[in-house]
């Protein structure tokens, strides 16, 4: 069970309670806080990887060799590119199934929903990032409770999201780095011009009045709302609280980075001309994400690396990676024989590319000194993509997990398939949440039990 302990009230929170937040705080009491003792892990990053995984070029060789010819994990042992090797900061975790999806017909591409929620399409629980940020308070005292990012597709739709609000609604993603910058840092830009200062003071006054007005309206609506609609209004209250933090203004602990140059990415959408810029966009999203963590803007972020097809980033791959690589992957599966090594090598190259982006995240986290306290989980919706299989989906765990992860190794949970819910149980426990289950399923047996990661 989660220990219930009052969250210490910060001076900022006390001041806020006197202003616009007073009514809100009274009507929407904050949910169960984290335990009083500081949780060892402080930052959570979840990453979605497209196109499934080529196991043949993913499994480390004996001695945790990951830089062998063709290995998709090689970016994590590439000091020349990333400044250092992150071999001792990752775990290659094998043997997970998206079992909650298999039990609820949420498989194939739809299983992206299962990665962080541990539940299928009818699940009402939040994904673990939102659970930690909102329900466990990890995002209460930061300007943004979380930063939900993507590349290519902003759609809050089943196959395009890993972050879900409590109640089961997919959360929209920011896919334009300029919007990411404005969302995360725009409020901290200070123009010293006296006229600008006066404008900002007026805008703050107006903003507080609006918040008061909306808060009162929401409270009135809540008194009439059916029980089934309460989650929705709780989420709205959370959004108001977040806006209040922005309007009232909060200090950040670092210099605000310069805004991205929009000329570097004239288009951002999948199939809307954005493909040639996805590499630059991914890098900017990653850099802004880690800067937001480093600046204390948020402690929680997810990144949905959508299709990443037709980008021409790898001359050795066909134009249409989705159809001509993922769909053509031919693998015998664990313990089988046959398959087509060429098709496996191609998918591994695509996986390698995606992992290179995660290596960049680790590089930036390392530079910011955040690596030890970060829990990073990266997974695809599928193992074998040509079979759209939700079984045997390799996971990459990275960061120090605040001591809850013994890294630098390959963990094989076996061919029978372990529910991915158990990974989520381990994640929440790394943040001090003393619960032994995560997710929802018609089969409760799949929800419980942490993995042994230390």
């Amino acid at each position: 069970m989660i220990r219930r302990t009052a969250l210490p009230i910060s001076r900022r929170a006390a001041l806020t309670a006197l202003g616009a937040g007073a009514t809100l705080a009274a009507l929407f009491p904050r949910v169960r806080p984290l335990r009083a003792a500081p949780a060892p892990a402080k930052y959570f990053i979840g990453v979605y990887m497209p196109h499934g995984m080529a196991r043949e070029f993913w499994v480390p060789k004996p001695g945790f060799q990951i830089a062998y010819e063709g290995s998709s994990l090689a970016p994590f042992d590439d000091a020349a590119t990333y400044g250092r090797s992150f071999r001792d900061q990752i775990v290659a975790l094998e043997g997970l199934d998206h079992t909650a999806g298999l039990r609820s017909a949420t498989v194939g591409h739809d299983a992206s929903r299962v990665i962080l929620t541990g539940s299928g399409t009818n699940g009402q629980n939040a994904s673990i990032d939102q659970f930690l940020a909102i329900e466990q308070g990890l995002g209460h005292d930061t300007p943004l409770s979380s930063l939900v990012l993507g590349v290519g597709s902003a759609e809050p739709a089943l196959q395009w999201c890993i972050s879900y609000a409590k109640g089961g609604t997919a959360l929209p993603k920011i896919i334009n780095p300029l919007a990411t910058f404005n969302h995360a840092f725009g409020q901290f830009l200070v123009d010293p011009d006296p006229l600008a200062v006066a404008r900002a003071a007026r805008e703050q006054r107006l903003g507080k009045s609006l918040l008061d007005y909306w808060t009162t309206d929401l409270a009135e609506l809540r008194t009439r709302a059916p029980q089934a609609e309460r989650d929705k209004l709780d989420q709205h209250a959370t959004a108001l609280r977040e806006l209040e933090k922005r309007v009232v203004g909060q200090a950040v602990t670092c210099a605000v980075p310069p805004p991205p140059d929009g000329a570097d990415f004239p288009a951002v959408g999948s199939y809307q001309g954005g493909e040639p810029y996805f590499d630059a966009i991914s890098n900017l999203q990653i850099d802004l994400m880690v800067q937001a963590l480093a600046c204390g803007v948020t402690h929680v972020s997810t990144l949905f690396l959508a299709d990443l097809s037709r980008t021409h980033f790898d001359a050795g791959l066909p134009e249409d990676v989705h159809t001509d690589v993922a769909h053509r992957y031919a693998s015998p599966g664990r313990g089988g024989t046959g398959g087509e090594p060429t098709s496996q090598a191609k998918l591994a190259r695509q996986n390698h590319y995606t992992y290179s982006k995660i290596a960049r995240i680790l590089q930036r986290l390392g530079e910011a000194g955040l690596l030890e306290q970060t829990v990073l989980v990266a997974m695809s919706d599928m193992g074998d993509p040509s079979k759209h299989s939700s079984r045997q989906v390799p996971a990459l765990l990275a960061g120090g997990w605040g001591g809850a992860l013994r890294a630098g190794r390959h963990i094989d949970l076996g061919a029978e398939g372990t529910p991915s819910n158990r990974l989520l149980v381990s994640v929440q426990q790394a943040f001090g949440v003393e619960s032994d289950s995560y997710g929802q399923s018609v089969d409760p047996s799949i929800l419980s039990g942490a993995l042994t990661l230390t």
């Binding site: 597709s153 609604t169 609506l221 059916p226 249409d320 040509s386």
Partner: protein, 527 residues
């Protein structure tokens, strides 16, 4: 003919005269009713009110996150106000209200020259604006609250500054953002309040906030009567905004919204983005025409034997450009309705090849309301047919017919999908593939009979005359209106239509009118 007259004339075909009430339905709660909900408005609905309030051409929707959809419909009760939406709405409304043109029609005439201290004009103005935003007349305390915002905004600024803050307040208010169907909660019954009836009617028929006539009818309690609701809906249907909403409904129903999220191989078409715009344009004009002149006839949509083809698409179709807005008969090219328009064919196809399974599934699920499990749900591994330069797509999918595990579903899916094989991945007509002739034969189980098909035109003709399709259309209307799937209410509505004329059951305008006047529109489960 003006737009209003055209629609009126189409409605006459529904055995109605514009302005005459139809018989009311019953007055008690039906057996199966929808849940009471708070539905967050779609971005298009947000935009419509923002335009009404601000009216300076500023668009908010582009700044907001896309809608989360249900069955592809953006009217979705599962949508919520998350941090990203609220933050972006906050920023977008601030920018949009930087300057307001108070001489515009939505503002009372006193606003043009009012001073910040003119409280009487402020009250008149905020009351008018709140009527649009709340979709009802605001109460006196609500007006007082808004005047409080006006005072803060006008302080150190001017009248316009005060109104600007009120507009921002309204566009972020939960009373605006949620369309409520909570009902009055009287013991033993739960009919929508008068105000909710007006709000729902306007949003469902025109996608707009209610106009003064509707607000008056609502405030007088007239909308309790199904006949009065129908009368109001008939009036709204003659406005161009209703045509726009109908177009959105059709695009969402048939999944055509997906067209913007896909690509075509350069080996199929050289400039797909330009072609895509032309495809959208063709379907928009065609659907608008069917709405205006055929009362949204299901049969005309499917097999009207005409289209309105933009110049940029004429070459792709292999025809000469025609004068704007001219109906062109393309049936000689195998294109008899919306299913043979490039927008549908390209949406349900892969990047470089046709997709008989996707096309068949689209027909069966969207037009017949059937459900199919995914292969992965059944534990079947999908094996994508290998490329074969010497085989047609149909030949490459032969395993669907020979493998017993596949055959169960694919005999049905592929039978409705192969008939489109004379259209490639982008919807271009073809007579051969890989040097081999195209076979467009297929079959479909329709109204309890197996119908043998020679091609997709035959499929469209069969669908156009099918009672099963008309019933599915009725279900889609309920799904769209309710913002969710409710199988029991859908079935009850379908059953209620059995005694209605074919014109009523076979046109979307007729179906929307039937739903609006029904008790399923007006009643909810008690909380």
């Amino acid at each position: 003919m003006t737009f209003a007259k055209a629609v009126c004339s189409a409605l006459l075909a529904l055995s109605l005269s514009c302005g005459t009430a139809a018989p009311s339905s019953g007055s008690g709660a039906p057996e199966h009713v929808l849940e009471p909900t708070l539905r967050r408005l779609s971005t298009a609905e947000l935009e419509a009110t923002a335009q009404t309030l601000i009216g300076n051409g500023t668009t908010l929707a582009a700044a907001l996150p896309p809608d989360a959809r249900q069955s592809d419909y953006s009217r979705n009760v599962a949508q919520s106000v998350d941090s990203l939406l609220l933050g972006q709405l906050f920023d977008a409304t601030r920018s949009a209200t930087n300057t307001l043109d108070l001489s515009r029609a939505q503002f009372p005439s006193c606003a043009r020259s009012a001073l910040a201290a003119d409280r009487a004009c402020a009250e008149t103005t905020v009351t008018a604006l709140a009527r649009s935003a709340f979709r009802r007349t605001p109460t006196a305390p609500e007006v007082e609250q808004l005047l409080g915002l006006f005072t803060v905004g006008a302080e150190g600024a001017d009248f316009e500054g005060g109104i600007a803050l009120v507009v921002r307040g309204l566009l972020g208010s939960p009373k605006f953002l949620y369309a409520t169907t909570l009902g009055e909660g009287a013991p033993g019954s739960n009919r929508l309040s008068n105000e909710e009836l007006g709000s729902e009617l306007s949003l469902l028929i025109s996608g707009q906030p209610p106009d003064d006539t509707l607000l008056l009818a609502a405030s007088r309690g007239e909308l309790v009567s199904g006949a009065a609701r129908e009368l109001q809906a008939l009036r709204l249907l003659q406005q161009p905004q209703s045509r726009d909403l109908y177009l959105r409904f059709v695009q969402e129903w048939l999944g055509l919204i997906g067209l913007n999220g896909l690509a075509k191989s350069s080996q199929v078409v050289s400039d797909f983005p330009t072609l895509r715009q032309a495809m959208v344009s063709e379907t928009s004009q065609f659907v608008g025409d069917v709405f205006s002149h055929r009362a949204g006839s299901v049969a005309a949509l499917l097999a009207g034997r005409y289209s309105i083809v933009p110049d940029t698409l004429a070459g792709f179709y292999g025809i000469q450009p025609s004068a704007p807005e001219t109906r062109v008969d393309l049936s000689g090219l195998g294109r008899v309705g919306i299913l043979q328009q490039a927008s549908f064919l390209a949406t349900f196809a892969h990047e470089s090849e046709s997709a008989p399974v996707l096309r068949g599934k689209a027909v069966l699920t969207r037009l017949l309301c059937l459900d199919f499990p995914k292969p992965t749900d059944l534990g079947i591994d999908i094996v994508f047919p290998a490329a074969d330069p010497n085989a047609t797509t149909r030949e490459r999918y032969a395993r669907h017919a020979t493998d017993a595990a596949c055959r169960g579903c694919h005999a049905t899916l592929d039978g409705a999908g192969f008939v489109f094989e004379n259209f490639d991945a982008a919807g271009r007509l073809r007579t051969s593939e890989s040097g081999r002739p195209i076979d467009t034969s297929g079959s479909i189980q329709l109204d309890g009979k197996l119908v043998t098909l020679t091609d997709s035109a035959a499929l469209s003709n069969a669908l156009a005359n099918s009672e099963q399709v008309r019933q599915c259309a009725a279900r889609q209307v309920v799904r769209f209106a309710a913002g969710r799937s409710d199988v029991e209410v859908e079935q009850a509505f379908v059953d209620s239509l059995k005694t209605k004329s074919a014109e009523r059951r076979g046109t979307f305008l007729g179906l929307f009118l039937e739903f609006v006047k029904s008790d399923w529109f007006a009643w909810r489960k008690p909380q």
